[in-house]
Amino acid sequence: MSTRRWSLVLLAAVHLALAAAGYLAPYDPAEQHRAWPNVPPVRPHLFDASGTFAGPFVYGLTPLGNWGGYKEDPAKRYPIHFLTQGRLWAAGPDAPAFLLGTDELGRDQLSRLLHGGRISLAAGLLAAALSILCGISLGMLAGYREGLAQTLILRGAELSLALPWLYFLLGVRATLPLALQPESTFLLLSAAIGCIGWARPAVLACAATRVARHRDWVRVAQSFGASRMHILRRHILPELLPIALAQAVILIPRYVLAEVTLSYLGLGIHDPGVSWGTMLAAARQLPVLVSEWWLALPCAAVAIVFQVYQFAARAWEDRAFGYTEGNAGRPDRSVAVGGHTSAAPHSPTMGEG
C-alpha cells in the first residue's frame, strides 16, 4: 500500500476510534473508582496461574499502602465480556480492568484518553474548519478585489501572524464567561482557537486568487458577462481547494495542541468534561510524573495525532507536486493542481509506472 493510502488509513483509524469513544471506553470518564487510585496499567490475561485457558480476564489488585502501588491478587479473577452494556468490552463494576491505569481519583485513563481525545480532536477540526472558511473567503476577496479590500485584509493578516497566539487565546478566553455548559465551552473554545488561524490560509488564498483571476478561462467567463460570484464559485474556488486541504492537515494538529494547552492551563474544558489537556494537568508534579508515568499518555496521543497528520500532509504534498513512489525529488510531468491540469496527454500519474 502506498504511503498516501497508509496515511489515510491511519487518519481514518484515529478519527474513528475517537469518534467511537463511547463504545470503545469501558468506563464513564468521570467515574471515580476511589478504591483504585493511581493504578498502573493492568495486564489482561488469557491463561490462569496453572496455564489453563480462562478467557480474557484481569486479576484483582491488593493495594500496598497510600501511593505504594498494587500487586495482583490471583485469588480474584474478573472475566472480560465483549459487546456488553452498550460497550465493546467491560469487566464488571468491581473489576479493576484499567488497561492504561487510573489517575489520582481512580478514573480510568483509557476511557478518559478516548473521550478526551474526542473533545480535543473535535475542537481542532471545528477550529480548523472555521479558520479555513474565514481565511479562504477573505483571501479570495482580497485577491479578486484588490485595492483597499486587499490592503486591509493582508495587513490584518500580517498583524494576526505577528501576535503570539497563546497570549491572544488567553485574552480571548478571559473575555468569555467563566463557567459554561460543557457544550458551550467546547464551541466557544473552538471558535476562539479558530479565530487566530485565519491569516495564513487568507494569504495563500489571496496569492492563488491573484494568479487564477488572470487565467484564460476566467477572462473568457468575464467576457461572456459572468457575475463576480459565478466566477469566484466556479472558477476561482476550485483552485483554492488544494490550499484549503493542505492548510487543514497543517492546522488541525496545531489546533488540537492549542485546545490541549488551554485545558492544561484550566481555561478550557472543566471537570466533569475531559480533554487531553485536563489529563496532563494531573501529571504536573514531578513526583507524580515519575511514579505514575501513565498519566503522561496524552502526550503520546498528541504525538500520534501530529504524526498521522504529518504523514497525510506529506502524502498530499507528494500528490500536489507529482512526486511518485521511488521518484522523490523529481517532479512528474502531470501536475494535478486544482483540478485543472496543464499536463500533456498520456502523462503517467501517481502510482503508475
Partner: protein
Amino acid sequence: MPLAAILPLLLTAQPWEKGKHGGRLIVAQKAESKTLNPVLAIDAPSREAIRLLHADLISINRHTLRTEPALAESWTVSADGRQYRLKLRRGVHFSDGHPFDADDVVFTFQVYTDPKTAAPQRDLLQIAGKPVSARKVDTHTVVLELAGPYAAAERIFDGIAMLPRHLLEADYKAGRIAQVWNLATAPEKIAGLGPFRFAQYKPGEAIVLERNSHYWKKDDSGAPLPYLDEIQLRPLGAEDAQVLRFTSGGVDVLNRISARSMDALGKETAARQDIHLEDLGGGLESNFLFFNLNPATATHRAIFQNADFRRAVSAAIDREAIVRLVFGGKATPLWTHVTPANAHWVNRSLPRPAKSLDTARALMRKAGLTTNAQGRLCTANGKPLEFTILAASSSQERPQMATLVAGDLRELGIGVQVVTLELRALVDRVLNTKDYDACVLGIGGGDADPNPEMNVWLSSGSMHLWHPAQDKPATPWEAELDSLMREQMVTLDAAKRKRLFDRVQQIEWEQAPVIALASPNILVAARRRLGNFRPAILDPYTLWNAERLYWRSPK
C-alpha cells in the same frame, strides 16, 4: 488527652542540645524576598527573612502555642486588661552595636500605627477602633495602652519587629520609611535584634544572612547564640525544584512540603541516612467549601441560602476519601474549621458523621428539592440543580478536593463543574465581584487563638468569605456570631472565652456557612545532622528556633 496536646509539651520539656558554633544553612524558598523592611513586607518570603533579622517583645512558643518573654523579660496586665507594663531586657544591642531601649519600642509602635505608613501591622494593632499606643516610663519600661480590653492581647505582639530609632527616625519624619531597607540597601544600614544580620544579596540566587554577634539570647551554658555562622535563603520556585535540590544536597531544609513530595522523598531516600523527614501531624490550616450567600445574585443561587441544603452537601461529602486520595492519608478530616491540632480551642462535643447519602437526601427534601425521572435533583421551579465550584489552579490539592466533592454531589443528582482559576482572580471573584457559585479555599496556620479570625467571622469583616462586608448581619445566626466573637475578644476569663468560641463552632456546624473538609499534616524535611531541629505546626515551621540550629558534624 489527645496526642496533639501532649506532644508539644513533651517536646518543650526536652532541653535544647548544646550546639557547636559554625556552619552554613541553606533554606529553600518558593520566591525571592521582595523587601527587608518590616513596615512593607506582606509576602511570605520577605516575612521569613525579616523574622531572622529582627526580634519581638513577646513571642508565641511554636510548640506550646503559649506566649513567652522575648525582648520584654516580664510584663504585668492591669485588671481591666487595657494596660500592659513591660520590663525590657537590659544590655540588649542592635546588630550594629547600638543599645536597645524604650525609645525604640515607642518609635516602633508609632511607625506601625501611623495611617500614613500603611504598615500591614496596623490592622493587628487596632483595638476597639483605636491603635495601641506605647508610652515610655523609663529607659527599660514601657506601657502599652489599649483602647479596650482584648483577650490574649500579648499574642498580637508576636512577630512585631522592633525597629531601630537611631537608623530610621530621620527617614520616618521625612516620609521615606517605605523606601528604605530594600534588597539593594547596604548591609551596614540595616540593623535588627534578631539572631542574624543582613550580609549580602545575590540577585536571583540567594539572600545571605550572617550571625549577629550582638544577639541577646544565650544558650543554657551561657554561650552566645546563634550557633550557625550563616543562613542562605534561596528562591527555587516550585516545590518540585526545591525537592530536587534537597535530594542533590543543594538545600538543607524544606520548610513545608506536600504529601506527594513527602512520599516521593521517602521512597527516594529510604536507603539514605543523611535525610530526616518529619510528619508533625495535623496543623492549624483548614480547607473548606463554601457557597455564595451574597444576596441579589443569580437566581439559581437562591437554594444556597437554605441551611438544610448546605448541611445536605456536608453530609454527602466523603471526607475520608479526601484524606486518603488527596493527601495520601497525611491529613485530618474536618467538620468545623478548627482543627484537632488546635487542642485548646476545638469543640470536641460536635458530631463527626461519616458520609451518608440517605441523610443528605432527607435534608435535600427538607430544603424543597425533588428528584426528577432522570435522577436529577431539581429546585422548586423544576430545573435540575447545577453549579460550579471554583478552586485555585496554583494548588494541586484544592482542585482535587473540589473534584471529589463534585463526584459525591453527582451521586445525589446534582450537576457540578469544577473550574480552576489563578488565586488572585479567584479571591477577586469571591470578595469583590462576588460572581461565583461555590469555592474551595483554605485558611489558618497563623495562630491558634480565634482573635486573628475576627475578620472572617464578623459579618462586617472583609474576609467573611460567603457574604463579606455586611452593613448589618443578614441573618440571625450571623448576628449571634458577631455577638459571640466580639464578646470573646474582650473577655479575659479563658474558660468563658472557650465556651463562647465553642458556641461559634456549634453555629458553624448547624448553619454550615463553611463546610470543612480536611486539614493537611505539616510535613518538613532537613539534613539528619542538623541539631535542635524541632519543627512546629505554627509558621515558621522549621526556622522558628533558627538561633539554636547547629551542625552536629561538618558536611
